[in-house]
């Protein structure tokens, strides 16, 4: 814009690991200790609980990484300028997918039959499942899972790899090529995310269905990864990175997007609930009946208030987005509520499985947290955070030769 074109462009900046304090040690430590202790304790005492705790932790990590890939693709497809400075962070989060691919292996070999009842259910007793058999069968299921994770991994690595190559040769054609690729990748991304949501989370209760499911998960992905982006960027600034480059205007834009997707999540989750409440069809309403039984009712109320109303009010005013500590506090809360959201989706199904194993009709009993939930979550997020820091330290923490970098530095919100 009005930024004088004669001012020198910033040079590449490496991540200074020594400035990050104990984090580079803490993340791999809690990751390995969390996962190891969860597996040893869970497999010996309560494999069913471990299966669901692990799926919960995996889904939290998966949604955050998928959101980062979404923001990267969107940045390129829309030829955005404000986000160039933060794009390497998004690319690095999105490039954690190969690790998620590895983390999915225990689900395939250890937990699949515990998690998804349709894999072990008697089809002869279940005409609805027989109807869904062409889709819900094990070979096709694993092919689909491999396809989703390979697509996400390749897309993340491609976008980060070509962007890193541009750091060296400064070729503007890379920007064009990534933009054109994004047009094709966005529909594929939407399909993969939607069907991954169907397969991993919606099929936990294979009688239930919601046409809003894909977009509901997507809203949580975009919101939580924007919160993670706010936290990592401000963390880097606080540890002395991006000096003179990152401004309050960047925080303002990220705050606006966090606010937008908070509202979007509220809108989508209400629409999903509202349609099923109105139609009142048994296969559909059970999902909400299970989550309104016992203390799950208060958990659901907390989800609505905490995931929508609290961040909505916290982000409503301009100073809330332009004051670093207020924005970061809200972002921490949003990430916490995203974990609560995934917990609310996954965990009632554990109680359904437990009642089936006991030979009782499926029912939920209420919110019973287990230490394995925390261990698995800390384990998966620790491993992913360590991967992220490692990826970020491989090159410059922002793309110094991106043709749009100057626009990103000069970005202004006309108030």
């Amino acid at each position: 814009m009005s930024h004088p074109s004669s001012s020198p462009l910033p040079v590449a900046e490496k991540l200074r690991i020594e400035k990050l304090g104990i984090l580079p040690v803490l993340f791999p430590a809690v990751g390995i200790i969390g996962l190891l202790s969860a597996f040893i304790w869970g497999l010996t005492s309560n494999p069913l609980q471990l299966a669901f705790s692990y799926l919960f932790a995996f889904s939290v990590g998966f949604t955050i990484c998928a959101g980062a890939l979404f923001w990267t693709l969107l940045h390129h497809a829309l030829d955005a300028d404000w986000s160039v400075l933060m794009r390497r962070i998004l690319e690095s989060i999105a490039s954690c997918f190969p690790v998620l691919l590895l983390l999915f292996i225990p689900i395939v070999f250890l937990f699949a039959h515990e998690l998804w009842e349709w894999m072990t259910a008697d089809v002869a007793q279940d005409p609805l499942l027989a109807w869904k058999r062409p889709f819900l069968n094990e070979p096709f299921f694993y092919i689909r899972c491999a396809f989703y994770l390979l697509f996400f991994s390749l897309a993340g690595l491609l976008y980060r790899g070509l962007s890193m190559r541009q750091d060296e040769d400064g070729d503007p054609r890379i920007t064009l090529r990534l933009r054109h690729t994004a047009y094709g990748f966005i529909p594929l991304f939407v399909l993969c995310l939607t069907f991954a949501g169907f397969d991993w989370l919606m099929a936990l209760d294979h009688h239930w269905y919601s046409t809003m499911w894909g977009v509901y998960l997507f809203a949580g992905c975009a919101q939580s990864s924007m919160a993670i982006l706010i936290l990592t960027t401000n963390g880097l600034v606080r540890t002395g990175h991006l000096k003179g480059l990152f401004t309050v205007e960047h925080n303002h834009i990220m705050g606006m997007l966090l606010f937008a997707f908070t509202t979007f999540w509220g809108y989508i989750s209400f629409s999903q609930y509202f349609l099923q409440w109105y139609a009142n069809i048994p296969e559909e309403t059970w999902f909400f009946v299970y989550r309104n039984t016992g203390t799950w009712f208060w958990f659901s109320v907390f989800l609505v208030v905490g995931h929508f109303f609290i961040p909505f009010l916290l982000l409503l005013t301009q100073p809330a987005k332009r004051t670093t500590w207020r924005l970061c506090t809200t972002a921490v809360w949003v990430v916490f509520m995203h974990c609560v959201d995934i917990y609310w989706i996954v965990m009632p199904n554990l109680q359904l499985q437990q009642s089936r194993h006991a030979g009782l009709p499926p029912a939920t009993t209420g919110f019973h947290p287990h230490l394995l939930d925390l261990l698995a979550l800390v384990g998966v997020l620790g491993i992913l955070a360590h991967t992220f820091i490692w990826l970020l330290s491989r090159g410059s923490i922002f793309p110094p030769r991106d043709p749009r970098l100057r626009d990103s530095l000069a970005v202004t919100n006309w108030l």
């Binding site: 009005s2 509202f274 409440w277 109105y278």
Partner: protein, 197 residues
């Protein structure tokens, strides 16, 4: 024809470019004038800050409109479906939050929009058919290539001599008195009184 001081709207000055208008506005703002305005053919970036604008009060009208809308929606739904003509449909309660929320939302948004537009009209004193600046013949160029600052006589700091001096100091040309009432003279082509600086 000598006019009375009372009918004076203010003093206008012309500036050659948008940049000079911006700098002049910064100086007028620094001198502490309150009742004054700038006029340009297009929006000038940074003019809000140069003129020292603070947050507009339109959002207060929006809030009042929104709360009115929410209360209206609640009263409408509750009165019609739970009090005046209670009817069970589909086994749903007379009044439930779920089907009411879209209506809450719609009426809140609708009356927020009404409140915003009304507040905007009230605060900008619109609509009006005429404005005293149109009595200044040079002002016609504001839709083409003219940049103007008008210091209004209603400002507590205003006086014909010092304000004229201020406009000269900040680089204004064609400084003219602008009068409240439309000019009624036997000679329609008579130029406005003008001081060339």
């Amino acid at each position: 024809m000598k006019r009375s001081e009372k009918s004076l709207h203010g003093l206008g000055a012309e500036f050659p470019t948008a940049a000079s208008l911006l700098h002049a506005a910064q100086k007028v703002q620094a001198l502490g004038f309150r009742r004054w305005d700038v006029y340009s053919p297009f929006p000038v970036h940074g003019m809000d800050q140069a003129m020292g604008f603070r947050r507009s009060r339109v959002s207060l009208f929006s809030l009042i409109g929104g709360i009115t809308g929410l209360c209206t929606a609640f009263a409408l739904i509750y009165y019609t479906s739970a009090l005046n003509y209670p009817l069970i449909t589909q086994g749903k309660p007379y009044f439930a939050l779920e089907p009411s929320l879209p209506i809450f939302f719609e009426l809140t948004i609708l009356l927020t929009a009404f409140g915003t537009v009304l507040g905007l009209l009230l605060l900008t004193l619109l609509p009006r058919f005429h404005h005293p600046v149109f009595n200044w013949d040079r002002f016609q160029r504001v839709t083409d290539d003219g940049f103007f600052i008008v210091l209004e006589a209603a400002d507590p700091q205003f006086s014909n001599e010092t304000s004229r001096k201020v406009l000269q100091d900040i680089g204004g040309t064609h400084i003219s008195e602008i009068f409240q009432d439309p000019e009624i003279t036997p000679h329609p082509a008579r130029p406005t009184s003008e001081v060339v600086s």
